[in-house]
């Protein structure tokens, strides 16, 4: 990985034997995939060629590496395209060859040389429990590392639901006292690219868009790019005609499920989940959970682990946020409150009888 990204992108292309035409083609395809106007492909290519390769630092904290795995499986642009042609990935735990103090030195140098200009990508949540001991590397806690890295960053991309909203570690009872990036860093522009994991092309598309335009994309109130998170899964789901016609699958692999009916009753969270799964899909447009027969988990939304069972319909009761409300719980509640009501009723009847007695006496 180069730590001197003053070399322009065009120069890197020449060194790697990527022709100008191949690069224009790559930018055109990326612009098309990001639903940008067609002329922007050529404009992006021109702009990037003369620009110094932007420095990117990728920090991973309390995470499962799923987001990074997703990142490396992007088809357009591919990670190779990005790394070799466009960006200078100056630090990344998983990909870099260096380790130990050499790696720490690389990080420090990258941050110093590009102070105020580098793109900081973060995945994983940041635990503050036990004084930050739950996630440490090189003797420094995740909290310390993030704060130091954020100081010189031009923008922070919080990749994945853990970095965006806290994700799995944040779920009840949050034993490590985990926080999302926005809970630790203030005063820096943050883009949340949520999902568990996010769609590969959404991650690379957002990064490429920032790198080529230098500006933040339109963000929703959860700081997610509206280009990808502006619509719900339900809005774009191909099974929507079945929802509208009231054809719901009742159990997995029943007749309705095999006919591709709506999965609302099997707990699909599509109507309340904002993501691009229904249009961009996964594995270069192969499929997405609903198409494969399983309801949406709502993984790009805050607190999705604590919003009740994944298999109970959104209209159903959710009294303890830990699973489906069982008829037994209902019976217990009804019984208990009915008993209380009976006591009140006996009291009221007693008073009524007293009144009856008095009126009869007259």
């Amino acid at each position: 990985m180069s730590t001197t990204p003053q070399v322009t992108v065009g120069e890197m292309l020449r060194r790697n034997g990527v022709s100008r035409r191949a690069f224009i083609k790559f930018c055109t395809a990326s612009a098309s995939a990001m639903a940008l106007p067609a002329w922007m492909g050529a404009a992006m290519a021109e702009q990037l060629r003369h620009a110094p390769r932007p420095s990117v630092v990728y920090l991973s904290f309390q995470e499962c590496t799923g987001c990074f795995e997703s990142f490396t499986r992007s088809f357009a642009p591919t990670i190779e395209n990005l790394m070799f042609d466009v960006i200078s990935l100056d630090y990344d735990d998983t990909l870099m060859a260096a380790s130990g103090s050499a790696a720490e030195a690389a990080l420090a140098t990258a941050m110093k040389d590009n102070y105020g200009k580098y793109v900081l990508i973060v995945d994983g949540s940041i635990p503050t429990g036990a004084g930050g001991a739950c996630c440490t590397a090189g003797g420094r806690s995740a909290d310390m590392t993030l704060r130091a890295a954020a100081e010189g960053a031009a923008v922070i991309l919080a990749v994945g639901t853990c970095a965006s909203f806290g994700g799995i570690p944040f779920a009840n009872p949050n034993p490590t006292n985990a926080w999302p990036v926005s809970g630790i860093v203030a005063g820096k522009p943050i883009i949340n690219v949520s999902g568990c994991p996010p769609i590969p092309e959404v991650i690379t598309g957002t990064l490429l868009q920032y790198v080529t335009t230098g500006k933040l994309p339109d963000l929703d109130e959860n700081l997610r790019p509206k280009a990808y998170f502006g619509n719900t899964i339900h809005d774009r789901c191909y099974r929507r005609p079945f929802y509208d016609a009231g054809k719901f699958a009742k159990s997995f692999d029943d007749e309705g499920a095999r006919s591709g009916w709506c999965l609302y009753e099997l707990g699909c969270k599509g109507p309340t989940t904002y993501n691009a799964c229904a249009t961009m899909k996964w594995n270069d447009g192969t499929s997405f959970p609903i198409e494969s027969g399983h309801g949406c988990l709502g993984c790009s939304e805050p607190d999705f682990w604590d919003k009740g069972s994944f298999y109970a319909a959104q209209s159903s009761a959710d009294w303890n946020s830990a699973g489906e409300t069982s008829p037994r719980e209902v019976l217990e509640l009804a019984g208990g409150t009915a008993a209380a009501g009976a006591v009140l009723g006996v009291g009221a009847a007693g008073m009524g009888r007293l009144r009856q007695h008095h009126s009869e006496k007259e």
């Binding site: 719900t232 339900h234 929802y243 509208d244 016609a245 009231g246 054809k247 719901f248 009742k250 609302y264 009753e265 109507p271 309340t272 607190d303 604590d306 919003k307 009740g308 109970a312 319909a313 959104q314 209209s315 159903s316 009761a317 959710d318 009294w319 303890n320 946020s321 489906e324 409300t325 069982s326 008829p327 209902v330 509640l333 009804a334 208990g336 409150t337 009915a338 008993a339 209380a340 009501g341 009976a342 009140l344 009723g345 006996v346 009221a348 009847a349 007693g350 009524g352 009888r353 009856q356 007695h357 009869e360």
Partner: protein
Amino acid sequence: MDLLGFARGPALEVSVGIFCAGVVWRIAAFALLKIRREQSRPRQSVLRYVSEGLLATASRSWPHPEFTKRTGAGEALGYSYHMGLFVVILLYGPHIALLGSLVGFTWPGLPSPLITGLAVVTLTLFCGVLFRRLTSPVMRMLSNFDDYFTWFITMLVLVTGLAASAHLGARYETLLAIHILSVDGLLVWFPFGKLMHAFYIMPSRAINGAILARKGAPS
């Protein structure tokens, strides 16, 4: 916790609790009252007048011929929107999912577009009912806060339900939360207003019918 989580979580739990407690309270409060001893001689055997009392629940379900001209239309309107409400509540997929989660079993429903159409018809009839209540001088004189508020809260459930199923007016999670909260409101109000007629109507007709039948004048 977001609004939807609150609506279908603690709010629903508390509302169902208040509903159960309130309904049992109010039923007990009248069921345990002393039945005033009839001083007159019974004109029929106990078996006869009790069974005729039970029949009165049916015979009093439609006005006597002398009154149908005056009140028939109003009765028909009432029955129509009640049936509309029952079908929409009990035979719509997402409602069956909710009720099924509470009682432990489900049943087949009707196609959603049909339910939507019925809900719109019910909404229209419901507005008609209010119109009648406001324009008829007798009805206006008899009506109180209870009547209007009960109408309002039932209407709110209907309107928010249609908005949620049509995804109209706000984000879906907000619409669904508002709809469930309005149902919670209805459940809390139920035991304390005119909605208790759901539980009183049959016993009331049966008891009155039995008393009259005992006197030799079955209705």
